[in-house]
Symmetry: C2
Subunit: 451 residues, 2 copies
């Protein structure tokens, strides 16, 4: 058993966002950490693919950043997005705040954030990074891990008493666990793919749209979104079915692509001078979700982040969930006096339901973003929810619970079911469109809120 | 593209039941077949583990055996089981026929059947078996497959234009497909494990219970079953939860095992002189189910049998489903003039829903076997279903549809849902216990049967 009296030594597989942040937490505890990463060192090689993907950081992400004591280093690159800007088909804009005054999610560059975390981790003398090391095998019995050094083609084996698999949705560590008895595993691709596009800065270097919003063009079964970057550009993502009537399979030439964008995203087209070039240069990527259990092998190997719970990006919670893994583990480290056997077993057992819940919430939010955001009933629901929250501060809309609180995800999912029932009743009230702030709504709410 | 004009050459991975039978089908078509199997040649080495597992062969299995023209070789080792013999807690027996007069499922030895199929396949000069070859890698791009020869430790690579992955629930071929984009995959272990036990022949060499029945000791959340062997013995299987109040985790010593058997299976204990020894000698094994899609890689690699659809054994359909795969493929071969590109794509697309359906039916049948078989309402339902079938031959109980017909599994599952609704209505009739053959039942049936 590895516990407080064992040598403080750990291996982290994966130097992505979660692997790098978790390395910082371990390093602060005085652990000697060896981090193995398949990709080249991005500090020398630049971001993978050179694309400037961005992510939405919300309260759970910041909580981990705070706990690691590095907020000042991260904050400077984050752009607040206090609400959504909805682009209707006719180009009309409408703005919906995400939460209360002062609450926002933050657009951060994945590459920039990863780079910053690598630098923070690497500043610890007890941290050693090993880039371009591909994990080829995990021998669970010893345990030891084999790597191929991609620069030399040489193979090496590392003994490791304590291993964290932070190697993402296609985790090699998880593939090894998958072969063990009674390991449950699901990988499921959604029917939609995505393609990244860009809105470059205006001639004066400024953003071509309001930078303090997450822009959405909801179109029923598909959507375009845009998040601001610090350099004045926006990174856009088109989410569209791979197959079907309106889908990637029909966008096979310049004319088809332009006709599609002109028809559905007409106000965005003038902002995207390299639309067609970008469309062909950037891949059409798939979206995988994974669920597994247990997240551990005995008391020595633990999966964290996407390796344990890869979700779809529609709630902006993938990174936030992985960062929250770090917060919880670091808190357990204190609570259990560094007894990894207990930490690993309890984390796997307790956190699993949160991983499943944020997956379900993210899948539901895809429907909301692409479909409901433009629906009058949905807008009415948002308006009533905000008013109820003003009047009864104990009533927290689920979006706020997920994005602006640290409430466990599985509680938020239960609350989502519960609130869906409330609004089913409220929206069925006669004349609700005009009486949305009336006594009947109060009455339904008072009844619903009773235990 | 591999089609009728290409060299007739194929690789089969796995020489288990489905791999061996499918090799016979290919060999009959004049294909040169190389079969690779991880285990030693059972003709020299005996059955794996020496245990005499048996299986229930029903109509779908026989249909494939017939189509391969080898019924006479298989029939001699099969013992008909026209019904279930239910052992109540007090030792009372009750018999339920599975179907009509003349219908039966058949107990066959897994090892004996596999051996027979290997011999039939090996008699073809165009078939070459390669035992003790572990598949270590599948290079999908070329495609070629790497093996380790377990006798010499040497590695070899085989080019293969057409590959059938018949390598079971833990298929190496499927693990390779799993890494491809948009491949959906689920592996899920049920909470129950199983342990094999034995009832040896009586002193006179005869069976100690009625050999022409599948014996069941249903006990709610767990059960014991026994299938007859040709040598006068029965192979028993205990299905029991791994954890919980009544579970394997509490059966930790001789006293606990004996107390458990004496309490729940008292009439079986005197028939099992080596019960305690067998309990410790035989492993407690887990039960995995897998689902995946697509079942193919391009037009070159196809998963069949458990590699494509591993299910639980509670409907006795695992082997039957795999054998039916062979029947369907061989039928498609004629229909599509040997065009493997079409066969592979269509098989994967059409057969998937049958694989999912028989998994669901098998999971439902576990509830029925362990729980409902001893339930008076369930027995009443069986009685009414049999009467309705007598009166309206078009009304086929789902068990018969699955076991005594070749109706696609997905149709049987739909019918199961539909019939569950019928019996929900019938069993809710007042006084149904006495009026089970009355006009009210007729009325409900007539209404239900309307389209």
């Amino acid at each position: 058993m590895t516990n407080a009296s064992s040598p403080k030594q750990a291996v982290v597989i994966g130097a992505g966002l979660v692997g790098a942040l978790w390395t910082v937490f371990l390093a602060r505890r005085g652990y000697r950490v060896d981090v193995f990463e398949r990709r080249p060192d991005m500090r020398a090689a630049g971001y993978a693919g050179g694309r400037s993907i961005n992510l939405a950081m919300s309260v759970r992400g910041w909580a981990a950043i705070d706990k690691a004591g590095i907020r000042d280093k991260i904050e400077k690159v984050a752009i607040p997005m206090p609400g959504r800007m909805m682009h209707a088909a006719d180009g009309q804009l409408s703005y919906q705040p995400y939460g209360k005054e002062g609450e926002a999610i933050y657009s951060v560059s994945r590459g920039g954030l990863n780079l910053e975390l690598l630098q923070i981790a690497d500043a610890y003398p007890n941290v050693q990074f090993h880039f371009e090391h591909r994990c080829t095998d995990v021998d669970l019995q010893n345990p030891q891990i084999s790597f191929e050094d991609l620069r030399t083609g040489q193979h090496k084996t590392v003994e490791a008493p304590l291993i964290f698999g932070a190697d993402g949705a296609f985790s090699a560590v998880r593939y090894a666990l998958q072969r063990t008895d009674r390991f449950d595993y699901i990988q499921r691709y959604i029917e939609h793919g995505y393609k990244e596009l860009t809105i470059p800065p205006a001639a004066d270097g400024k953003h071509r749209m309001d930078p303090n919003a997450l822009h959405i063009w909801p179109r029923g079964n598909f959507m375009l979104i845009a998040l601001p970057n610090a350099d004045g550009s926006f990174t856009c993502t088109l989410f569209l079915s791979f197959e079907g009537e309106i889908s990637f399979e029909h966008l096979t030439n310049n004319d088809a692509v332009l006709a599609f964008f002109n028809r559905y995203f007409a106000d965005a087209v003038p902002l995207m001078p390299t639309l067609v070039e970008d469309f062909w240069a950037n891949p059409t990527s798939s979206l995988v979700t994974t669920q597994c259990y247990p997240w551990q092998w005995q008391n020595r190997i633990l999966l964290i982040g996407d390796a344990a719970h890869a979700i779809v990006p529609f709630y902006g919670q993938g990174m936030n969930a992985g960062f929250e893994d770090c917060t919880i583990l670091d808190t357990m480290y204190d609570a259990y006096g560094g007894d990894w056997a207990r930490i690993i077993a309890d984390f796997s057992a307790q956190r699993k339901k949160d991983g499943d819940a944020i997956l379900e919430l993210a899948l539901r939010n895809f429907i909301e973003m692409r479909d409901l955001v433009g629906d009058p009933k949905f807008l009415l629901r948002k308006k009533i929810a905000a008013r109820l929250h003003e009047r009864y501060p104990g009533f927290l809309p689920v979006y706020s619970m997920v994005s602006f609180s640290n409430t466990p995800y599985h509680v938020a999912l239960r609350e989502d079911d519960h609130q869906n029932e409330l609004f089913r009743r409220i929206l069925a009230l006669p004349g609700i469109e005009t009486n949305w702030d009336g006594p009947e709504v109060e009455r339904v709410f008072t009844e619903w809120v009773k235990p």
